[in-house]
Each structure stands twice: as structure tokens, then as C-alpha cells.
Amino acid sequence: MIFDVLIPLIAALPLAGFALTAVVGRRLDKEAHWLPVGMVLASWVLSMIVAFSALTASGPFADGGYGVKLWDWIPAGTFNVQAGLFVDNLTACLLIVVTTVGLLVHVYSIGYMAHDAGYWRFFAYLNLFMVSMLILVLGDSFLTVFVAWELVGLSSYLLIGFWYRKRSAALAAKKAFIVNRVGDVGFALGIMAIFASTGTLDIRASIEHLISGAPLAVPLPVIALLVFTGAVGKSAQFPLHVWLPDAMEGPTPVSALIHAATMVNAGVYLVARANPIFGRAPEVMVVVAAIGIFTAILAASIAFTQTDIKRVLAYSTLSQLGYMFAALGVGAWTAAIFHLMAHGFFKGLLFLDSGSVIHAVHDEQDMRRMGGLWRRIPITYWTMLIGAVAISGIPPLAGFFSKDEILGEAFKNGFLWVWAIGFVVAGMTAFYMFRLMGLTFWGESRVDPEVEPKIHESPPAMSIPLVLLAIPSVLLGLAIGFPPEDGLLHRWLAPVFEETEQAMGRHAAAYQFFGIDGVLFIATVGIAAIAIVVAWRIFGVELLGLRLRPRRELATDATTANGLTRFLYRASLNKWWFDDLNDLLFIRIGGRVAMFLWWFDRTIVDGAVNGIGALTGDAGRGLRRIQTGRVQNYALGIALGLLVMAGSYLLIVGR
């Protein structure tokens, strides 16, 4: 069977790329990219073949998917985990995003990292990440997914800390890994609970057992909650969201690939993959929706005031991931995956654009020292504008269709509160994105005068991926999401989610453009449009010959208007003080606890040991005095001893 070879090769090729580059990369120097890029290109081709076969249900995929078993990984009696891969339509969708964005980021990095001393190391790590991410979406058992889950964490650690001399980068890498591990503990316990309940870790077999109604060792909602904990960590949802903004310390291609388009989606993928479990735990679904939508508004509020271009995008990513979890929570499974795909492309694009901007202004990331760049770097500007329009949910770009579906389904499934918050977030999203556009590209230039003359558009290796990513950002919605709720994607993913939707008692109502759906459509697009106009008024643009003076003072006025707005402004600026809280809890208080335990170890535990030793020594020294060397003393001792013995004989025996 040809797919028995093709599917493993998808992951094996970048693995070979990583291994070879790790060994010989240093010697290849500036040519080190050929092998890793070639491997990812080959992997992309194979992924397209496999994804196309799966989505058209042709050949061996006709029966809902096709799996390959590789070897008995952990043969421990009844606990027998095989290493195996499985491709169904959900995996196919993820494969498309992961390998396409992955390939373009690899190409982009040729330009972006061209002058970096660690060129080969960067490509080796990127390939390592690709292997890990591909295994994550291909793995057919929860434990295989967990392996990849940890491996993407490792690659993320290595890439965030890529510029290891920078203390902030080193700290961010460590923070990302440790915060992720908090979620991983939950995921690991979830896996243990699944095994204890079903006796297998194969995803399909265990899910089948879990939903069969058979008695379980661990209640289903607990399992769902534990698995969700893992998703919260990897997808940086509240309260484990703190690592993602710091992760922007990594090189920008990394931010685009790992921290926007692929790895952070792993949590969404996991919950979608386990949809039969979640579908039968409605109370957990509410938690998922609540965490998601709360993260969405929390992150959007922080994005309002950040001045680092990448941090705005990072908070935007948190916010959009929140949308996806909200979608999962309200049972809009397909919409969640739709948004995942659309977001993967347009956020990947936005990040690469931001990298292009940073490149143009010589490693400046602060938007207060940008402005007026749009004529200088037009390819970057126009592609980024496409990304910004897409994420703001303006039709007919990709983000509109997916976001509209999420909000529509939230409303129609009775989660009015999710819809209401999501509606507000839609407006906020459009605002902070166009604030970013305004500060970066519009108005007067605030670029360092020394850098100003050297501003240049990026080389083709960087600009071509931008153009290529702009295409799906525009067309993806029309291509697979139209007509709404009945597009190609819905048909592709129906086999994956159908059964759960029925179990949840959801009946797909026809999309009514001249009805509720139309009203929601107008509302969402309306608030986004208003937000864009407001941002445009504040930050100014000369567009289509229409010149307007930027009104920056509007923003200043609003944030200082009264006590509430001043508080909100400070809260946003300080990221709602989560980092400070964590610092207090884990560094200061946690550190004290650890120091106390160490003191306890030295003084009490070891003190007891040394105390017993000292006691023995003292006793010995004390008793030594008896041995005086004088015969008279010994004679006295013997006499006393005889007396005692005789006396006790008389007292005890003689009676």
C-alpha cells in the first residue's frame, strides 16, 4: 500500500532534515537551508497528496480514514502502545495548514535569518519542529500525540531561546516550557484516566469505549476536563496564557509558524479530535466556552495598548484562539477548525509581515518609532492590510466567514453570552488591528533618522511567501466556507463531527440570510467596520486620495477621561497584572517554600542523623572516662558488680 510509505514519510523527511543538519549543518554554513527546506517541500507535496486523497475519500480513505502501524512502542503487558499514524479529514485539514505555512516560513527564513550566525541551527530546529507538529496531527494514540505534544514544546523552547545570549529570550523560553508543563500534567493525567477506564490509548478505540455507556473508572467529565487542561496550556488560554506574549522573544518566523499558525492550535485540534468525549460532557463544554471567550476579550483588551508590534499580534493570537475554544464549547466544531485554518494563514501572514517591517526598520519592534511606512515597503503594507482586513472579519476575506460562523452558531445554540462577548471582541479586534496598521504604516514617520534612509523592502525570499500567504487569507473562506455552514469544509468534516452533533441533539438549521443569520452578519460586520473607521480617524491615513489629519489626541482623551477608563488603560498596559501575580506566587512565595524545605532538610532531617551520630560519640567519650587505668578503680567496679549480681540473685531467684 503506497500510503503505508507516504504517511510516515511526511514526518520522516523533516526528521532526516533535522538529523543531517544537526550533524553537518555547521559546515554547510550559509548553504544549510537547502536540505531542511527541501525536506519540508517534499513533506508538503506528500501532505497534499495524502490530504487530497483523504478529503476526496478516495482509495483507502473511503472508510473515514487510513492508519499505519509502525512498531510496538511500549509493550508492557496489558499496556501496549503501538507507534502508529492515522489520517482522516480532520488531520488532512491540519496537514494543509501545517505544511503550507511551514514551507513558506522555511523559505521566508532564508531571507530573514540570512545574517544570523546560527543559520544552520535555526533550520535544524525548524525541521525538528515540523517533525513534532506533524506527529502531533498524525498520531493515532493519545500517547503518540502526547509525545509530539512535548516535542513541540521542546522545539518551541529551543526556538524562543534561539538568541540565548539575550537574558529575556532565555527566560521566555524557560517560562514557555514550564507553563506548558502545567497543562501537560493535566493532559498526562487525562491519558492515565483514559487508559484506566478503557484499557487502550488508541484514540478511536478508547473514545468508542468511553462513549459506549460502559462503566468507567474515571467519570467522563473528569477525563474531558483533564484533556482540556492540556489544551489550555498548549493553546495559551487563561490562566496559562502568560507564556505566549513572552514567546515573541524568538525570531519572527518562529512566532509566525509556532506561536500563531501551528503549535498553538494543538489544543484546539486535541479538543476537536476528542469531540465525542466533550460532546457528552456538556458541563465541561460550558467551561471550554467560558475560558475561550474570556481569553478572547482579556487578550483583546491587552492588545489595545501594547506598543511592540509582535506583542499586539501575540495578544491577538490569544484572542483568536479564544474564539476557537468558544466555538468548540458551543458545539460549533467545524467553525472552530475553519477559524483555525483561516487564522493559521492570515496570522502567519501578519507575523511574517511584522517580521518584514522589523527587518525594514533595522530590528525596531516599537511601533512608536515607526509610522508612514506604507510607501516605503508596499508589498509588506498591502499584504499586511489584507491580513488585517481578514482578521477583522470583513467579507469576503477568510476571517469573516469563520468568525461569522462561530458567532452565529453561538447565538443559535443558545449561548447568548458567548455571542455577546464575541461580538464585542469582533469590534475590539478590528480596532487594535487598525491601530497597529495606523501606528506602523500611516501618518508621519517616527523612524530613527539614521535608519530612515535605509528602509527597504524585503528580499524576494521574504516577500514571495507574503504574497503566497495573502492568497488563502483572501480566498479560503470563499473556497471552503461558502455557502455559509454548508461549504466544502462542512462536508469534509461531517464524518468527524456528525455523530457528536447528533448525540448533542443539534439539528442543523438552514442558513437564513434573510433571517437571523443575516441580522447577525450585519451586526458583526457593522461593529468591525465602525471600529476600523474609528481607528482610521485616530491614527490617520491617506487612502484613495482622501487625506485626514491623524487625531491621536482622541485616544489620549479617551484613556484619561475618568477613573474607570484610566483604570482600564493601566490594566491593559500592565496585562491585568498576571505576570506580577505569578511572580508573587511562584517566584517569591514558592521560592520561600523551597528555601524553607532546604533548611528543613539540612537542619531537621540531616540534623537528626548527625545528632544521633554526635550522641553516640558523646556517649563514647563519656564512657571512656571509666577506663582510667587505675587498678583500684577497676577493683571497685568489680566489687560493685559482684554486689549487684549477688543482690539481684537473692532478690529474684532466691525468694
Binding site: 545570549r165 523560553a173 508543563r181 491519558i191 492515565m192 473508572a217 523551597a594
Partner: protein, 516 residues
């Protein structure tokens, strides 16, 4: 003649002794010849042990390669050695790490090389002997033999505070093992009186186990005998709260001494639990298990948290050992097949990974003569290969899947979860702590700018030398291979696991009501 007819186990055990005797005849000035002779001896033992592992038939619960010779017939004491899956794996671990340790000592040890190498080879005799002895008296003899060379290794070639550390190590261990001797003798007496005064087989493990399986040992007797064994083994593992000799011993021991101390000596205690304490006194094991599980859980989390604040590299790794070995004792005493397989795998993995970490700490110590983490920094730039190797083993120790550490820990946790989800949840939290202390250490050593202290070291700060790479490559290879194919160990030890659990399952906990 089949290979099983050769006295292979004795050969592996005593090849190092022969080597040690031969080295005694080499003039002490011929340092090179002494080193080569020691290395060759260790390699011969290693090859023989690999041969044994290959010829070993996996999955069978009984002992293979058994050799018996009468020793003290009056009391039924025999020279009886043999291996099952567990022993075979641990013997190979021992022989592997011994030659690596000897190789790693070539450069750091420049004084009294002859005595050093002889000590190491005799230490190997003792360690292998413990893993292959099937007679309790013989086991005790080997157990105590181990102490002597380690006492010398720390006491002569150790750091500034070596005398304190080595005396503490020896006395502490001795307290436990003397109680164990009493328990061994009491067990033999109980067996002898249960067999009409016949001493035959009174020290033989197999006949004692058969006797135990027929409820031969009284419940109260079991409680005390197990208690004595427990103390001996718990100190050796070491379990909380008997662990405080370990950081002291590690800090003072020379690099190779630390390697063998962590990799093999700590396994002696865990091996003792699996081989002797549990099968011989299964009812008492049931009674004691809850306490031991609690102590293991404390060790796992406590060791990790205390490791978080260690200023000294070696102490940090020492406390991480306390944490990792907690998984081993946890896995043994939940009496569950996956957990026990995980515990055994964890023993092997801890040997490989922690052994490698001590080698790596030795590398920086040899160059800077300092192990204070705060003085290090930015090592990635001047020593990239060292940074990569250190990073590899740090992530192995963190339990990154794909490397061997993960499988052992995860199997232990899966097994524990089925017995007590809360215990498993508590132990799983170590995933966070372990990442914390190890990445904290790694960041401070390798990231950031090169510190002034390291600048002052100057040209001594060189990257890994070929000989150091040679010591690390086999360990790294095994860590990857066992991470991807843990079945290599799991299938070999499956026979041991089922036989140990069979003895426990047929027993029930001692009814403590007799106290009233």
C-alpha cells in the same frame, strides 16, 4: 557445549577481581599501563555481560546461568549465583557504566592511580555480585564489599570535606545493613526450624521464596524482618527521610565515583526490594506498602523542590536523584505490573541519565574547579558541543518523550493511577518541578553572557575532548534507543515482574490486630 554450561556469571563477576590483582603487579609509575589494564578489564566484563544478555532467554520467570557450589555446608550456605531478566539488565548497566567511569577517570585522576583503579574494579565485583547472588549470605557479603572501595574512593580522591562525607556514607549504610544481617540470620533460623532443623537451603533464595509462598514465615516475624530489610534498602535508595548522606557523598566524591554512586549504588537498594524484601515477606510488604508509597511521594516532590534552590550543581543532581528514585520505590510498592515494569525501566534510565549528568558536571568542574551555578553562564558560545550534550541529558532527565526517561516514569504513573489516582496526580506534578529546576540550571549555565569567572578561567575552558565524547556517546545512544524501543528492557524483565507480583498477589496484608 552450550553457552549456558559456561560459568558465565562467575566470570563476569570475578573478571574485575582478576584485573585488579594483575594491576597490583604493574609498577605504580606506569600510569598509562594501569589505566589501560583497568579499562580493558572492565571492557572484558562488559563484553561478557552483553554475551550473557544475548544468550538470555527473556520472559521466563526463573533464573538462568545458575551456578552452585557448597560454601559453608553446616549452615546450608552456598556460593549460588544466577540471573533473571532484572539481574541481567542491571549487570549490563553496571558493566557499561564501570568502563565509562574508568575512561572518564583517565584525565581527572592523577594521584594514586593504581589504588584508584583497583578500588574501582573491586567495586565492580561487589556491585555485580549483589545483582547475581542467589544466596542471602553471599548477597550480604557482596553488599558489604561495595562499601569498602566506595569508602576509599570518596575518602582519598574526594573533595575538601571528604572525610566527613565518606564516614557518614559508610556508617549510615552500615546501620541499615547490620540490621539486614540480623534479619537474614533470623530468616534462615525460621526456615531451619520450619524444616525440622535441617539447614539445607536456609540461605538459598529460591527455597526461601518457595517457603514464603506457602506462608512459611509468621506474620509478626515478617513485619520485623521486612522492617530490617526496609531500613537497609531505604537508606541505600535513598528514600526520604534517609537521604541526607547522598548530597554530601556526591559533592565530595570524584566525578566517576559520583557516576557509579548514582547510577549503580542507588539501584542496589531498589533491587533488594524487588528481589528479596517483597517476595520473601509478601504479607509484611502489603502492610508496609502504604507508608512506603507516602514516603515515595514525599521524596518525588520534596526532592524536586529542594533541588530548585541548590546553588551547587552536584547537589542539584543529587536531590534530583532523590526525586527520580522516588518513582522507583513508588512503582515497586503499588504492586501493579505496569508500575513495576516502569520502576525497573526507571532504574535503568536513572542510571544512564544521571550517570551522564554527573559526567557532564565533572567536565565543567575539571576546567573551572568550581560547581557553583551562580558563577557559570553563557557557556553555549564557548563550548557548544558541551551545551548540546548537557541539553540532551537535561531533557532526558526532564522526561521528554522519545528519550528513555519518559517511558519509565509514565509507566509507573499509569500503573499507580490504577491503584490510586490521587497518588498518581501528586507524583505527576513533578513534571513541572523537574522542568523548573533543570531548565533553571541549564539557563544559568549556558544562556546569557559569559561570566567574568569563566573569562578568568581563560584557555582552560575548552569544549568536550574526544575522550569525554566517548564516555557520553554510549549513554546518549542508549537513552535514545530505550526511548524509542523500551521493549528491549521491558520484555527481558517481564518474567521477573510477573513472578514478583505473583508472590505478592497470593499474600494479604498482616492483620495488625495482634498488637492488642
Amino acid at each position: 557445549m552450550a553457552i549456558t554450561d559456561l560459568p558465565l556469571v562467575s566470570a563476569i563477576t570475578f573478571v574485575p577481581l582478576v584485573g585488579a590483582i594483575l594491576i597490583a603487579f604493574i609498577p605504580r609509575d606506569s600510569v598509562g599501563a594501569i589505566r589501560i589494564a583497568a579499562l580493558v578489564t572492565a571492557l572484558v566484563a562488559w563484553v561478557l555481560s552483553l554475551f550473557m544478555l544475548l544468550g538470555f532467554l527473556p520472559g521466563r520467570p526463573g533464573f538462568e546461568f545458575v551456578e552452585v557450589a557448597p560454601w559453608i555446608p553446616t549452615f546450608g550456605i552456598e556460593y549460588k549465583v544466577g540471573v533473571d531478566g532484572l539481574s541481567a539488565v542491571l549487570v549490563v548497566l553496571t558493566t557499561t557504566l564501570t568502563w565509562i567511569s574508568i575512561l572518564a577517570s583517565f584525565s581527572p585522576i592523577q594521584t594514586r592511580v593504581k589504588e584508584y583503579m583497583v578500588s574501582f574494579l573491586i567495586l565492580e565485583v561487589g556491585m555485580i555480585g549483589v545483582f547475581v547472588a542467589l544466596d542471602l549470605f553471599l548477597f550480604y557479603v557482596f553488599w558489604e564489599i561495595v562499601l569498602v572501595p566506595m569508602y576509599l574512593i570518596i575518602g582519598i580522591w574526594g573533595g575538601p570535606n571528604r572525610i566527613y562525607a565518606t564516614i557518614k556514607f559508610v556508617l549510615y549504610t552500615l546501620v541499615g545493613s547490620l540490621l539486614m544481617l540480623v534479619a537474614i540470620l533470623a530468616t534462615a533460623f525460621a526456615y531451619q526450624s520450619g524444616h525440622g532443623g535441617d539447614w539445607t537451603g536456609a540461605f538459598d533464595f529460591e527455597s526461601l521464596r518457595a517457603f514464603a509462598a506457602t506462608s512459611g514465615f509468621a506474620d509478626t516475624f515478617q513485619l520485623f524482618a521486612f522492617g530490617a530489610f526496609f531500613l537497609a534498602f531505604a537508606i541505600k535508595v535513598p528514600m526520604f527521610p534517609f537521604h541526607t548522606w547522598l548530597p554530601d557523598a556526591h559533592v565530595e566524591a570524584p566525578t566517576a565515583g559520583s557516576v557509579l554512586l548514582a547510577a549503580i549504588l542507588l539501584k542496589l537498594g531498589a533491587y533488594g526490594f524487588i528481589r528479596f524484601a517483597v517476595p520473601l515477606y509478601p504479607s509484611a510488604a502489603h502492610t508496609w506498602a502504604p507508608l512506603i508509597i507516602v514516603l515515595s511521594l514525599i521524596a518525588i516532590v520534596y526532592g524536586a523542590i529542594v533541588a530548585l534552590v541548590q546553588p551547587d550543581l552536584k547537589k542539584l543532581v543529587a536531590y534530583s536523584s532523590v526525586s527520580h528514585m522516588g518513582f522507583v520505590t513508588l512503582g515497586i510498592f503499588v504492586f501493579q505490573p505496569q508500575a513495576l515494569q516502569g520502576a525497573i525501566l526507571q532504574m535503568v534510565n536513572h542510571g544512564l541519565i544521571t550517570g551522564a549528568l554527573f559526567l557532564l558536571v565533572g567536565v565543567i568542574y575539571e576546567r573551572t574547579h568550581d560547581r557553583t551555578i551562580a558563577k557559570l553562564g553563557g557557556l553555549s558560545a564557548p563550548t557548544p558541543v558541551y551545551a548540546a550534550a548537557f541539553g540532551f541529558f537535561v531533557f532526558a532527565s526532564i522526561g521528554l518523550p522519545g528519550l528513555s526517561g519518559f517511558v519509565g516514569e509514565f509507566l509507573t504513573l499509569v500503573g499507580t493511577f490504577q491503584v490510586s489516582p490521587w497518588a498518581a496526580a501528586f507524583a505527576t506534578s513533578v513534571m513541572i518541578w523537574a522542568a523548573g529546576y533543570l531548565l533553571w540550571m541549564y539557563q544559568r549555565m549556558f544562556f546569557g553572557e559569559v561570566t567574568d569567572f569563566l573569562h578568568s578561567v581563560g584557555h582552560h575552558l575548552v569544549d568536550l575532548r574526544p575522550i569525554e565524547v566517548l564516555t557520553l556517546v554510549p549513554l546518549g545512544t542508549l537513552v535514545v534507543v530505550l526511548g524509542v524501543f523500551p521493549g528491549l528492557v521491558l520484555t527481558v524483565v517481564s518474567g521477573t515482574v510477573s513472578s514478583v507480583l505473583a508472590s505478592v498477589d497470593s499474600a494479604s496484608a498482616v492483620n495488625l490486630a495482634f498488637w492488642q
